[in-house]
Symmetry: C2
Subunit: 294 residues, 2 copies
């Protein structure tokens, strides 16, 4: 398996999927759809939609049956970044080296573009899987739970609250990491499985793998924020400490954080082995995430 | 039919539905769920969820089969108000006589509470109608379309853009009214019909009735903003003109606006007659909306 060729293949499909499954930037109202496209097309790792496609392939999907699910996941991820960047949240001017949505447009447009991407994710699943209401239903339920007030949004809320908390604990950190980050990574692998009509046992294995991968991913993010320079990172380094955020580095230090991340990476690989199929690409992707420098 | 007793019965069911179908305010993270509840429990007319319940009864539903759909619609309506009130949008401090969410909490919490209510609407439909994936799917598809970038959010975007436009036309106004207001009122009647497993013909009649009712509702809103005082209205009167908004009053004047609203009200009644069932309550509700003073 040629990892970089396979990754490139998946990434190309994600771009095609966005092109196919998101309204064009000139659809009325053009300013709104333009802002949605601007943020979606800013790129990034595309980790979540690639996980959807790779999990679907693991379950035997060789056609485009998982593509709309991959795009829906990326729409939700992008909405969460747009809202996270707003002045009342992290107040970031740059994302992936480009002006954030509220800088390129304005705050109201960015707010509405985020709302619209979130709503579009559900509309897209309902429309693309209309011929199979049971699959549509399972995908929507998984995504709505992962993105909801107890998971993604709940994690963002507690992340904000922890900034003002001098005595944030490792339980607080676990809640934040599990929900702010791992929820959507877990949902990505699960939705790939659902699109591939996987058995409940396979879905459970994918869920555990996603949870561990998500935790490893966020801990490595914390380490990189504390150790890399801004140029390597492509975003402002050292922001967490300045914002007083509760991070793995703050609670456990850099060495222990790296060790915990390695444990979660190993656990993700083991869980994935239980899902059946040919996991070579996903194993390599997990390793690439563990060894990344940005 | 005793209209006020029937309305009271529906309103009580909406409150029960919110109590049953939205996470309690002490669910972790309590600040987030508290803000969701605070905004939902501020009350208001509950027009949209009452329309869901009444349309379902028209289609023979006598149990709670439409209750979750009614709550989902109110969650989406409430999210749109929370985001609309934010400083970057209408910047309102008061809503229904109480501090708006970002005043009672803070901007970040209000933003996330809106996001969470929108997401919860889809989670609630997926969970409550899990035993009938086809019904769940139809409800979710209807709600996601009505709330999406071409309808509710698109209408809000064009409403904002029209403020800066000296030459807004009646076509602009129609786009805004049809999408900002009528989309969710139309979806409310349609979702009641879907929960009642109505025929495609009945759904089509409900859709036309909702469209006309929604247009009448918004035109009357425009007239009241221009003619009523703030005390009667329960919110700041005359805001539209000060904000330079394109309204029916601005384009057509007060008398012609009243006449157009009456035409839409009559058309809504006629469309409803085609839906079958016993429309006495819905007819009375349409009349009450046409004659309201706030």
């Amino acid at each position: 398996m040629d990892f970089s060729a396979e990754l490139k293949r998946h990434l190309a499909r994600v771009e095609q999927g966005i092109e196919r499954h998101v309204p064009r930037g000139d659809t009325r109202p053009a300013r709104l759809h333009g802002a949605m496209r601007y943020s979606l097309e800013a790129g990034g790792k595309r980790l979540r939609p690639v996980l959807v496609l790779a999990a679907a392939e693991l379950c035997g999907v060789t056609d485009d049956a998982a593509l709309a699910a991959a795009v829906a996941v990326e729409c939700v991820h992008t909405y969460s970044l747009i809202h996270d960047d707003l002045p009342c949240m992290d107040n970031d001017d740059l994302r992936r080296g480009r002006p954030t949505a509220h800088k390129a447009f304005d705050e109201a447009t960015a707010l509405l573009a985020g709302d619209a991407l979130l709503t579009h994710a559900f509309a897209l699943l309902a429309t693309s899987y209309a011929a199979e209401p049971a699959v549509a239903h399972a995908l929507i339920r998984e995504l709505a739970d992962a993105a909801g007030s107890r998971r993604l949004i709940g994690g963002q809320m507690e992340d904000l609250l922890a900034e003002k908390k001098a005595d944030a604990t490792s339980q607080d950190l676990e809640f934040i990491h599990l929900n702010k980050t791992a929820a959507m990574i877990e949902a990505s692998l699960v939705m790939g499985g659902l699109a591939g009509r996987a058995s409940p046992e396979t879905i459970a294995s994918l869920r555990r793998a996603g949870r561990h991968l998500g935790l490893a991913f966020q801990i490595i993010d914390d380490v990189l924020d504390a150790t890399a320079d801004s140029a390597t990172l492509g975003k402002t380094a050292g922001k967490d400490a300045r914002a007083g955020k509760v991070t793995s580095v703050k609670l456990h230090g850099i060495d222990a954080s790296r060790r915990i991340a390695q444990e979660h990476t190993a656990a993700a690989r083991t869980a994935l082995a239980g899902a059946g199929g040919e996991p070579a690409f996903l194993h390599a992707l997990i390793d690439a995430m563990a060894e990344r420098s940005k």
